[in-house]
Symmetry: C2
Subunit: 195 residues, 2 copies
Amino acid sequence: MTVSLRERRRQQTARDIQIATLELAAEKGLETITTEEIAAAAGVSTRTFFNYFTNKETAAIGAPPAFKEEDLQALREGTGSLAADIKIFLDKHIEVLAGDEPILKLIGSVLRSNEKARGILEGFLAMGRIELRDCLNTRVGNPYAAAALASSIMDTIGRAIYLWEHEDGLSLVAALDVIWEGTIRASQLLAAPSE
Amino acid sequence: MTVSLRERRRQQTARDIQIATLELAAEKGLETITTEEIAAAAGVSTRTFFNYFTNKETAAIGAPPAFKEEDLQALREGTGSLAADIKIFLDKHIEVLAGDEPILKLIGSVLRSNEKARGILEGFLAMGRIELRDCLNTRVGNPYAAAALASSIMDTIGRAIYLWEHEDGLSLVAALDVIWEGTIRASQLLAAPSE
DNA sequence: GCAAACATTGCACACTATGCAAAGAGGCAA
DNA sequence: TTGCCTCTTTGCATAGTGTGCAATGTTTGC
């Protein structure tokens, strides 16, 4: 687990730049601030900023946490009802996200006002959907249903974060419970022969 | 239904620019072409290009067709099963999309390689989701379930287009049927107490 | 026809993003 | 510790993006 000084510095600089970006963006909006300002706030040159990130938006978003391999495996091999196993998976992942709440909130506000940032996030989400779809497909044996489930799950996460951001006093975990209930209800409505 | 000469010219110029953008992008990639090239191909000045669109990506995507008010109303007031009424809604909308198949295919390839374009499309899709959610909420009386359904529907459209783009010989309508079946199957799996 | 409204264009300018080369700092072996 | 190699930072040059402004044309309605 030895990490070289160089590596540690790189991580630190990347994080410094992300924090500087998010703080300045929260204050003045990502659109109005310049890469020069961000670099100055992070204590590096403009050129160095671009050595770390290709643009402001990427700097603001950073690298979202990936799904844990063990959680994916549990979902693949789970023996409970599919809904129950997915809920467990979601709880695990939301726990990871909850570890970075302040940054998550800042990123949320950037996403609401910046098209390019949304596109970059969409790229990450698309990767997550593919990972989930493949995982679920081994369980349900139907690629189209697996893709639909994967989308539902990613969407549930997204809406849970959104609810948490906008509802004071609601924890991320609690927000997920609320949104999840809606997801299940929607499934029942769609699956019902008539209602 | 009188449209002034000015208005017609504006529409025409906007379309000229979009077509020029998509054709050049198909040939060389949206990243590598410049706004100057696009403007020249569309027969306007660079400055005029920016009077119509704020960037290349917006020019490529143009304005996706909105849901028809009558279709939304039919969905709101439908008396069949929810799934059946949603399928009718989807069929109607896919029919509109099928009217612009060549452009749809070009846009698809742009979206696959361009982050900013994806973000812009996401913005449009988010608007569609809100419209659908509100519509469905009046029918099912549960905002969270309505939001989940709206996401499912938008996602179904997106995946149907994707399948159609990648599967030769499959019509848009047929692709929608395949994807829709997967969506329904996913709902049954999620709604089932155990499977 | 004339004036107001709108469209097009050129020009200037701030900002974004990349390539290249020089200088600085860390890693590693003798 | 020294010296060499590698990686990092930086400045500079340059192509491209996007906006404000003002001049010049076009369309519209009166």
